[in-house]
Amino acid sequence: MNASSLRRIGQMLLIPILAVFTALVVGALVMWIFGDDPLAAYRGLINGAFGSPRAWSTTIRKMTPLILTGLSVAVAFKAGLFNIGASGQFIIGTVCSVAVGINFAGLPVFIHLPLAMLAGVAGGMLWGFIPGVLKVFTGAHEVIVTIMLNYVASLFAGWTVYAGGTQGQTPGPLWDTAAGPISRTPEVFESARIPWIFGDPYRIHWGVVLALAVALLMWWIIFKTTLGFATRTVGANNKAARYAGINVKWITILTMMIAGGLAGLAGAIETLGLNHRFAPEFTGGVGFDGITVALLGQTNPLGVVLSAFLLGALDAGGARMQFDSGVAADIIQVIQALVLAFVAAPMIIRQLYRLRKPSDQIESTVFSSGWGR
């Protein structure tokens, strides 16, 4: 049992590790073709991500929201749902937490902060509930609906902080009146901010601990509880789930709500811990990165933590890489895209490294019904 579960873990890690390795090699090739020095670039990248306490703190800071958006996408995959809406859920989570954070002056921290975070989670859950309900009752595919809701979220968020026009158009309800023509919210009250673990210059807040705890919680729910069993069954075989008496409609809606709540929490943490305000440029890029994180992490919550760490490091090291080696930090995007391509199409990796099929049995048929499994 122990040896076989170790082998299973090894098999799970094999593809992601080879995917990252291959992406780095191809990335090096790209740099070499354009006359850059890949070795210097990667040295800069590693320095920027791990070379100093400052570098480490940047990596951890970048990792934090990625854990949560990665979990958001991964949890949905477990129920056979593809949540492309982490971006919109993140934005709504941000707006809702800010709305609470800039109001209710005078509340004590232990009420104001949880309230603001819960507002973010609730906003995200609502943004997951909509595609869930539409899927269950009308059959509208969650991929389409979540993509559309991303636009709605981003436009809605933009409207809330709209500075008003020169022709006297009404400004948005969350706009910072002191900001003049700039569209942004005021800073949230001190009482709604997540405290620092390490303050300036490291700027690491307790959100990272919360994110890690949530990852553990999600792992426990998915693999150790009856709810997780039901969710995984719905994802693995919808009909068998119905046969087994599982309420597939409810699980679908609930999973989308949890997924939305996780992305909403990411938005709340990022705002209340780091930015302390919302402006339209703080949009949900990390929501889309959540897809890469989830797939690279093999949709396992603990794998998500590892892959969020890796992507956070890539993000963190990019600036230093550009400074040290003159290679444009955009190459990081290329590498991330390659990682995604290789984990989404594991056959490429299997062919490349002549790996056998991952089954321990002969003649087992692989029925993959969708993404993330």
Binding site: T225, A230, T233, N237, Y243
Partner: protein
């Protein structure tokens, strides 16, 4: 051990296909060991064996999907090496898989030319292909409309398309892998006619099956495989079902079910005037009424597609009833959730389609064995899954129901069909129930497992469980039922006592012919 004797008898002609001493070793498993066979022109060779006996591996070697570890294959006397199915097709070998390899939304013509397209001036030459298909279907009496779309065709016709696909590629050797598993009795007869025509036209056929009656009916020669080895050959003119079954299983098999008279007690399942529609919204049940009592087996016979599937789905809560009433032990269960019917109604359901409904392929055997009880103690405590209890449960059931598996953590999907069904049966038969609904409980599984499952069903009846058995196999209905209900076009046309039932009478009822005027 091998069939050298047969080879010597037929030395007059070179075999069209010869397998010599083939061994295939997968990591840890010997799937075929020193297997030899020969196939002559115009011959139907039946390859008989239980699931997991190595039939499919052997056929996949002949079709170029696997490569033998040792041994060689000769086509028309020439040793050949096949790297892919493409090589096999070039050598005139065609295979009809059990699960059809057709694109449902495309026409017959498109499916047949797929992968081997005729092109004229850069465009697909559908007309030429269709003409060729018509010519082939005439020569081999394989009636098919080349312009029909696959998804509109019944299963039996789809199979003809698969055969035509092989013939279109000039196959002279046809491998039919469990071709009758998906067919109705009438379609099976149709297939046998086709096979006879093919034989007359000089085609050679390897017919893989585990159905004894079919083998005796159609084959020229029978080879029996067990545990990856050839355990013997038989002549269909002389062999009996009993002998073949014993060769396959390796021990004496009792083909008839041994059961005493039923002792029916109170009504458990009461179905009144039930109406429902099928997936296309057409009426599938037009007012079905019947009762099943504790301690009796009621068999539902009928040609497939007469509402049996929908009936089971409605009773088990998987399909909505439009009208009528279902009671289990007096409690109203019309349109109740599957969980309520299972839990409160104390019922079990062996579903007709085990892959779709009965199991999760990617789950371990242990998890599959608690698929509909995972939330109950001892498998869950305070909403937490208890792995140890699930494992102990699985170990006990695997042992008791003889599920052959390397481990309880093996994926359900990697078991053989018979063992998958035993797994489903183990789950459904191992909890206290008052109602058992078994739909096609032995479809596509081997003799040894059928015997086992039949005995289990009778044992449940004798414990006082009410059993509703739905089966397309008339033999199964006749062997197990105490009363037989025949469905025709969404209605129960008649219910007869087993003692009064004859094969002919049931056959007429299945065709919708009833002597007394219907009320």
């Amino acid at each position: 051990m091998s069939n050298q004797g047969a080879n010597e008898l037929n030395t007059s002609a070179t075999p069209v296909l010869e397998v010599r001493n083939v061994t295939k070793i997968f990591p840890g498993v010997v799937a075929n060991e020193d297997v030899s066979l020969s196939l002559h022109q115009g011959e139907i060779l039946a390859l008989l064996g239980e699931n997991g006996a190595g039939k499919s591996t052997l056929m996949n070697i002949i079709f170029g999907l696997y490569h033998p570890t040792h041994g060689e294959i000769l086509v028309n006397g020439q040793p050949v090496v096949m790297k892919t199915p493409r090589d096999a097709i070039k050598l005139g070998i065609g295979m009809v898989h059990q699960h059809f390899q057709l694109v449902p939304v495309m026409t017959v013509t498109d499916n047949i030319m797929l992968g081997d397209e005729s092109v004229k001036a850069g465009m697909l030459d559908r007309r030429a292909v269709a003409a060729r298909i018509r010519e082939l279907s005439q020569r081999y009496a394989l009636e098919v409309n080349p312009d029909a779309v696959i998804e509109d065709l019944p299963v039996g016709v789809r199979q003809r398309v698969e055969i035509l696909k092989a013939l279109y590629r000039n196959a002279r050797i046809l491998i039919l892998d469990e071709p009758t598993a998906v067919l109705t009795p009438q379609e099976i007869e149709g297939l046998f006619d086709v096979m006879e025509t093919l034989r007359r036209q000089g085609e050679s056929i390897i017919f893989i099956t585990h159905k004894l009656k079919e083998v005796l009916r159609i084959a020229d020669r029978i080879m029996v495989l067990r545990g990856g080895r050839v355990v013997g050959e038989a002549d269909p003119k002389r062999a009996t079902q009993q002998q073949l079954a014993s060769m396959m299983v390796g021990r004496e098999v009792i083909l008839t079910v041994d059961k005493g008279p039923a002792q029916p007690k109170e009504v458990v399942l009461n179905v009144q005037e039930l109406k429902a529609t099928n997936d296309l919204g057409e009426p599938a049940l037009r007012g079905v009424s019947f009762q099943v009592r504790a301690g009796e087996i009621v068999g539902v016979a009928g040609v497939q597609g007469n509402g049996q599937t929908e009936l089971v789905e409605v009773i088990t809560g998987l399909r909505k009833a439009d009208a009528g009433r279902i009671q289990i032990s007096g409690a109203d269960m019309t349109n109740a959730s599957p969980r309520r019917i299972t839990h409160d109604g104390k019922s079990s359901h062996v579903p007709e389609d085990r892959h779709a409904y009965g199991m999760v392929d990617s789950y371990s055997i242990a998890d599959n064995l608690v698929l509909n009880q995972y939330y109950l103690p001892p498998f869950a405590k305070a909403a937490t899954i208890q792995q140890r209890a699930i494992a102990e449960h699985a170990k006990a059931l695997v042992e008791k129901f003889d599920v052959r598996t390397p481990s309880i953590y093996t994926h359900g999907g990697s078991l053989s069909g018979g063992n998958q069904q035993k797994m489903v049966v183990a789950r459904e038969f191992s909890r206290p129930i008052q109602l058992l609904i078994a739909a096609q409980p032995t479809r596509g599984i081997d003799v040894g497992s059928i015997e086992f499952i039949h005995n289990q069903i009778v044992a449940k009846r004798d414990e006082g469980v009410a059993v509703l058995l739905v089966s397309a196999e008339l033999d199964e209905i006749m062997a197990l039922s105490d009363r037989i209900a025949v469905m025709y076009k969404g209605e129960i046309i008649d219910i007869v006592d087993r003692a009064d039932a004859t094969r002919e009478g049931l056959g007429l009822l299945m065709a919708g012919v009833k002597h007394e005027p219907a009320q």
